[in-house]
């Protein structure tokens, strides 16, 4: 048998070094593999989110288009037909009817038609606020608030320190914000029992900051978290659709506040420059 002349100590050192390299490589490959898997998962998740957002966008867009169509049909067709009916009734003069009965019929018919015309106009306006398209978000919110103020159910005050920024809002974004404010006011009137609501628009560089608060009873909490109904979920969907962020606070019994932030994609250039 041939006697080996290998130095055992050298072999030990080589063995230690080799195993160290092997194990370190294994761990590094393991790290790389896991990070790769995580990255793939994140990409998949992101793609799923984008797809969901696109679906949401399509739903909201089609909903708005449908609302607009129904609103216009109501305003143009039903409104016009009712106006025609009013004229007809006014012109109708039966020979056999007594003067008192005819006048009473005429008055009540006209008042009913006027009420229907007014209701149709309101519904049409709610479905598709024309002011929003013609005069912008601030005017539309002002108009909606004044209708609420006239009803006496709620006293809405508006502070607008972001007029320049509001004028530059895209119609889709303006519609989304308008719908959110509309929903918030609706919630306040229906559920909060509040007497006052404040809406403030602030411009912070290229960011539009909207603060809405009321002095109602706030939102119900479940296990320390705000319980969200359909209305609030709609608000969140609409804000998500325009990439706006929000922060909701409920001061248990002392009111409700939501802060909405919308960042403009472009940088605002001051008028002086």
């Amino acid at each position: 048998m041939q006697i080996t002349t290998d130095n055992i100590y050298v072999l030990i050192i080589l063995g230690m070094a080799g195993t160290f390299i092997l194990v370190s490589s294994f761990i590094l490959f393991s790290v790389r593999n896991q990070n790769k898997l995580l990255k793939q998962r994140q990409q998949f998740h992101q793609a799923e989110l984008t797809h969901q957002k696109e679906l949401l966008h399509a739903i909201i867009e089609s909903q708005e288009a449908e609302r607009k169509r129904i609103g216009q049909d109501l305003h143009d067709d039903v409104g016009t037909t009712l106006s025609g009916l009013r004229l007809l009734i006014e012109m109708f003069n039966p020979a056999t009817a007594t003067e008192g009965a005819y006048t009473s019929f005429l008055t009540s018919s006209k008042s009913i038609i006027d009420k229907v015309v007014k209701d149709v106009r309101n519904i049409s306006h709610n479905l598709s606020p024309a002011t929003l398209g013609y005069y912008g978000l601030a005017a539309a919110v002002n108009e909606h608030s004044s209708i609420i103020n006239q009803s006496g159910k709620l006293n809405v005050t508006i502070t607008n320190n972001a007029d320049a920024l509001l004028q530059k809002l895209d119609l889709t974004v303006a519609t989304a914000i308008y719908r959110v404010i509309e929903e918030l006011l609706n919630n306040t009137i229906k559920h909060s029992g509040a007497s006052k609501a404040n809406i403030s628009f602030e411009a912070v560089q290229n960011r539009l900051n909207i603060i809405y608060n009321d002095n109602g009873k706030g939102l119900p909490h479940v296990a320390g978290q705000i319980k969200k109904g359909m209305g609030l979920q709609n608000i969140e969907s609409r804000l998500l659709n325009i990439n706006a962020t929000h922060n909701m606070e409920s001061y248990s019994g002392k009111g409700f506040q939501i802060e909405i932030n919308y960042i403009f994609r472009f940088i605002l250039i001051s008028k002086d420059t």
Partner: protein, 231 residues
């Protein structure tokens, strides 16, 4: 020339002693400080590893005092250390599995303790190093670590580096796999030349320090660690 050679050799030995007897033993404080700093976040597996580190550092201190102060042979300490080391590490890995698999690990630890006793009494007396037991222990710890990576290596919920247990298992795997050859041939190394001993023990201590650093990172990453799943 001759004087400078002696001077250089003295310096080398002093530097080596400083590294082996002071720097490396003191580096155990790195994971201990990290664990104490994050103590309120430590779950049971981390606490087992912390106990293991404290135990091994104390035994190492005893070993160093025996070697450098009393000039004693300390091979018998390794016979005791091997048993506790394996029990601690088995208890740590047992935390990752369900009751059935945990029982298997505990039974393995029990059998290993028995094997160590038989080894010390009949095969390798305390006067020499227990290379059989220590090598078997190291191989089993490598298997534990590999099984851990097999089970949790495909976690696509979190980044690898965010999981503290990954760092600790890597530390164990690197140390026991790299030093396996040294454990196997430890008794040969007792009779080796100073240069060989310096190279091998220097390498061992460097890997040990790396293990401590990885432990420290593991303890640092323990915050908001999800509790281990079992299957």
């Amino acid at each position: 020339m001759f004087i400078s050679f002696i001077y250089l050799r003295l310096i080398n030995i002093t530097m080596y002693n400083l590294f082996v007897a002071v720097i490396v033993p003191l580096s155990v404080l790195i994971p201990i400080i990290s664990a104490v700093y994050n103590y309120k976040y430590l779950t049971r597996p981390y606490k087992i590893i912390l106990s293991f580190i404290v135990f091994s550092s104390l035994l190492n201190l005893v070993n160093l005092i025996a070697i450098y102060i009393f000039r004693l042979q300390t091979t018998s300490i390794f016979h005791i250390y091997t048993v506790f080391e394996f029990v601690f590490i088995s208890a740590y890995f047992g935390e990752f599995y369900n009751r059935q698999k945990k029982t298997i690990i505990y039974v393995t630890a029990g059998v290993f303790v028995l094997f160590c006793l038989i080894n010390t009494i009949f095969l390798q007396h305390p006067g020499i190093l227990n290379t059989y037991a220590r090598s078997v222990g190291a191989i089993l710890i490598i298997v534990y670590s590999m099984l851990y990576f097999l089970k949790f290596g495909n976690n696509d919920e979190e980044t690898w580096t965010d999981i503290g247990f990954n760092w600790i298992c890597s530390a164990l795997l690197i140390y026991y796999a790299s030093c396996l050859f040294m454990f196997i041939f430890s008794n040969y190394l007792l009779t080796a030349s100073k240069t060989v001993v310096m190279i091998v023990w220097g390498g061992h201590d460097t890997i040990l320090m790396l293990e401590y650093i990885l432990f420290a990172v593991g303890f640092y990453k323990c915050r908001s660690q999800p509790i281990i799943s079992t299957y």
